[in-house]
């Protein structure tokens, strides 16, 4: 009998040991960093247009994924300067994004040794469940068109047209300042002006993307080999300038009044040896914090 009681108490102690995370001060760590210096001047765009965000969850060993990339290129050609794209390489995509060994014995051509994966891409994939549905896949403005926000690339063109048919809600602009303090830091300012009243909580994300990365890619339509060594990877999401995948709150009140304007700057350090500075872009988008639907997007090359 004593052993039974002792066993019960033992179970209880398990809860004690596994049930508490004490947090000592400091209770917070640096997230998004503000910019130093004076805020730049923005001018309201007299004729703003709506732009759409297409997120392509992809992988360098996904043989059908180049079809999604081609679709984005085609949509961009149809709607010049109205499409902002993100190529997301998620850790949840299994072998599609896994790397191969960096040794010539098991991997003589050293293909697929470059690791595209990063935290924001994985967290976005985890939120929307693209990898669990299958690659290639993605979201158009993270909007639910009837079957959930994750849509096949074959529908991206139709849904883009549907999004761009409505007038813009926000005039969104960017200004980038690179290395002004000689510390390899980028300071990116956004300007968001509501063109009509918006209800609810909104957030803004500032991401850094790199274009034209030449690395291996699997392509089932390629011949004679389906492993392409000099494939050009576009719009690859690299990091979040605001420090978090889900951005920072735009409005502090429950509604945004028409004409209300938000200007803020965020900075991030960039290692020039890792990424090609000439190919870096800042992508910004505003989304509804409840529905996650994107209402406006913008993109600006980091260097002039």
């Amino acid at each position: 009998m004593k052993s039974k009681i002792a066993f019960g108490v033992f179970i209880g102690l398990m809860f004690v040991f596994y049930g508490c995370d004490y947090i000592e001060a400091p209770y917070a760590t640096d997230g998004p960093q503000g910019c130093t210096g004076s805020t730049p001047v923005f001018t309201a765009n007299p004729s703003p247009v709506r732009k759409v965000l297409i997120e392509d969850v992809t992988g360098h060993r996904c043989g059908n994924c180049p079809r999604a990339a081609e679709t984005i290129a085609s949509i961009m050609a149809s709607y010049p300067d109205q499409v902002v794209a993100l190529g997301l390489h998620s850790s949840l995509s299994g072998s599609f994004t896994d790397i191969l060994p960096n040794d010539t014995i098991t991997n003589p051509s050293l293909k697929y040794i470059y690791d595209f994966r990063n935290t924001p891409s994985t967290e976005i994939d985890n939120q929307f469940g693209v990898s669990s549905i299958g690659l290639p896949g993605g979201m158009v403005n993270r909007k639910d068109f009837g079957g959930g926000p994750v849509v096949s690339y074959t529908n991206w063109s139709t849904y883009t047209a549907s999004v761009l048919a409505s007038p813009p809600d926000i005039d969104l602009q960017l200004q980038n300042f690179w290395n002004t303090n000689n510390d390899s830091s980028l300071c990116s300012y956004f300007y968001a002006r509501a063109l009509n009243s918006l209800s609810g909580d909104y957030k803004i994300c500032l991401f850094l993307t790199e274009d034209s990365i030449v690395k291996w890619q699997k392509d089932y339509l390629a011949s004679p080999s389906t492993d392409l060594q000099f494939y050009v990877h576009h719009h690859v999401l690299r990091s979040s300038i605001t420090g978090t995948t889900w951005g920072v709150p735009l409005n502090s009140t429950t509604n945004i009044a028409s004409g209300e304007t938000f200007i803020e700057g965020y900075s991030t350090k960039i290692d020039p040896s890792l990424w090609n500075l000439d190919h870096l872009y800042v992508v910004a988008f505003v989304y509804n914090a409840t529905t996650l639907e994107v209402v406006q997007a913008e993109e600006l090359k980091m260097l002039p």
């Binding site: 009998m1 039974k4 009681i5 066993f7 019960g8 108490v9 033992f10 179970i11 209880g12 398990m14 809860f15 004690v16 596994y18 049930g19 508490c20 995370d21 004490y22 947090i23 001060a25 400091p26 209770y27 917070a28 760590t29 640096d30 997230g31 998004p32 960093q33 503000g34 420090g243 978090t244 995948t245 889900w246 920072v248 709150p249």
Partner: protein, 575 residues
């Protein structure tokens, strides 16, 4: 860490089960009865349940600011079914909110389905439940999963629970699961463990001496995934969140003769959440109750101190959903409408100090031999904590016995007197103070209200089975004159007439009149009429009238209700 925990749970459950296998044969349930001809009569078990339906047909009524209901008709309904066969039981509840929940209930209940279903069996001292269940540890300070249908409150846990009684007097409970969030589950995983020891059962000699001694301890932890929450004090920082938040409590119950007491002390580690402004100060809760009872006299004294103790399985949730614990209310639960519904008290889960004294007595025979007078005197008060804001994420510091701003006070006396076999009456006077904004969550600007409430209630049984009851109430206040847009403002009077033809029928008419509203247009009559029919366990009521906008509280847990005008139908039945 999670894998280790799950492995521990599995091992613990399987070992508990295996510990019982030696008893299985001897305690095997005899489900089938052997008949005289040698055949077996199969025991199919029993089914019981209950059914409830509340429906309303809405009319537009802009005078009382009733929301327009385009679909005109709404209903809330449920059916509980419980199957029992020997030591096995299983149950489910079908719920439907069609086409949407009644006005005043959370719109997220919209839909229909079977959210509640479980199976349970007992084997020796072990009881295992899989599926959904309700549970309370002690007074509920660290865990209480319960349903309060009239509030639209339901926070059942969906998972596994094992209760184990190794010997009479000791009960061990372990559970793991997620909480109901309307038609899905909250994001947090709850783990809980509770021990109750009743020494009067362990040592029968204590029971013989009418001594009761109970001790208990609970531990509850919730796990929620990490996320990026911006530091409210510095938008450039992200909070370091505790993913596992633990709370525990210890309690003592003691009784000897006519005296009994019950005390519980609880503690919660840092739990930054939306209700406390994401501060890291640990929480604590203390509850004490002592009572004395003898023939013709009952005295109860209660106290509590609550500090930062809102405990939920989602750190970002506010309002009613996903509450894991319950802070007892130390105020009289009034039944008369103006006393109960105009200025009810809502428990402040993140900080309050409360006291209550309640005395019931019956006048001795030498005063009134035939019809003694029953008197209830009740006093309660609640203050906020006296806090010093630290200006950082710790939040604040406070003295244990530091009383802050007064939130609520209720001093009342109620006298019940039977005059003859046919006539009896109740009289009540109540003084009430409330800081309406702070208590009912309308803002941080103080809005103190002093009011006096008087009630007279007379019943007259003019024929056998035929009773008529008249009620007159008044609420007098002069404190709210500047809130000109408020339709619950200033003084009120109320009258009620009710006729009962026992045991089946009753009919009543009631008028609540906001006679003292400083805005003349809002001096509105809220008239309702109800007819009802009772038969055994079935009760049907049908009514028509205006429902006042306001706040409904049960046990200190409250919900806002908008105004409404229309027909109501209510059916309750059980079998």
């Amino acid at each position: 860490m999670k894998k280790i925990f799950l492995a521990t749970i599995i091992v613990a459950f399987s070992t508990l089960l295996s510990a019982q296998t030696d008893k299985t044969d001897s305690t095997k349930t005899k489900l089938d009865k052997k008949l005289s001809d040698g055949t077996k009569e199969v025991n199919w078990g029993t089914i019981h349940g209950n059914f409830g339906l509340d429906a309303q047909y809405y009319f537009n009524d802009s005078l009382i600011a009733a929301p327009v209901v385009p679909e005109k008709f709404r209903m809330n309904g449920f059916l509980n079914l419980v199957y029992t066969n020997g030591n096995f039981s299983a149950g489910l509840r079908y719920e439907a909110y069609l086409p949407k929940p009644l006005l005043g209930f959370d719109a997220r209940y919209e839909g229909q389905g079977i959210p509640f279903r479980y199976a349970s069996y007992k084997l020796g001292g072990l009881e295992v439940t899989a599926g959904t269940f309700y549970e309370q540890f002690g007074n509920g300070l660290v865990l209480r999963a319960y349903e309060e249908r009239s509030l639209g409150f339901d926070n059942f846990i969906d998972g596994f629970r094992a209760k184990y009684t190794p010997i009479q007097g000791i009960t061990l409970t372990g559970l793991v699961g997620k909480q109901r969030f309307f038609w899905s589950w909250g994001p947090g995983l709850i783990k809980g463990f509770n021990t109750d020891i009743n020494f009067a059962d362990l040592f029968p000699k204590l029971g013989e001496k009418k001594i009761k001694l109970m001790v208990g301890g609970s531990f509850v932890s919730k796990y929620q995934d990490n996320e990026d929450i911006v530091n409210p004090l510095d938008p450039n920082q992200i909070l370091n969140l505790p993913l596992n938040v633990g709370a525990w409590s210890g309690r003592l119950g003691f009784g000897v003769g006519r005296f009994s007491m019950n005390a519980e002390l609880a503690y919660k580690i840092n739990d930054p959440n939306r209700t406390n402004g994401y501060i890291y100060k640990p929480g604590s809760a203390f509850y004490f109750s002592a009572s004395y009872a003898q023939k013709g006299l009952g005295i109860t004294v209660q106290a509590k101190r609550i500090e930062n103790f809102d405990f939920r399985s989602d750190r970002n949730m506010t309002g009613q959903p996903l509450l894991m614990n319950f802070i007892p209310m130390l105020n009289k639960q009034h039944t008369y409408a103006l006393a109960a519904t105009i200025y009810p008290y809502a428990v402040q889960t993140n900080g309050e100090l409360g006291l209550q004294a309640d005395i019931n007595f019956t006048t001795p025979k030498w005063v009134a031999k035939k019809y003694p007078t029953q008197v209830n005197i009740n006093f309660s008060m609640v203050n906020a904590l006296d806090t010093n804001i630290t200006g950082d994420l710790y939040g604040y510091r406070t003295d244990v016995f530091g009383f802050g701003r007064q939130l609520y006070m209720d001093a009342n006396i109620e006298i019940s007197q039977k005059v003859s076999k046919k006539v009896k009456f109740n009289l009540m006077y109540m003084y009430l103070f409330i800081d309406k904004n702070l208590v009912q969550g309308f803002g941080s600007t103080p809005r103190p209200i002093n009011s006096h409430i008087i009630v007279a209630d007379v019943s007259y049984k003019f024929l056998p089975k035929h009773t008529i009851r008249l009620e007159a109430q008044g609420l007098i206040t002069e404190q709210e004159m500047e809130h000109l847009d408020d339709r619950t403002n200033g003084s009120w009077v109320m009258g009620l007439a009710e006729y009962t033809f026992s045991p089946h029928f009753f009919v009543s008419v009631m008028d609540q009149w906001n006679v003292g509203n400083p805005t003349e247009d809002f001096q509105i009559h809220y008239i309702t009429g109800i007819v009802g029919y009772n038969n055994g366990s079935t009760r049907i009521t049908f009514g028509y009238g205006r429902q006042r906008a306001g706040i409904i509280c049960i046990g200190g847990v409250c919900r806002q209700v908008p105004a409404a005008n229309g027909f109501t139908l209510s059916i309750m039945s059980s079998f």
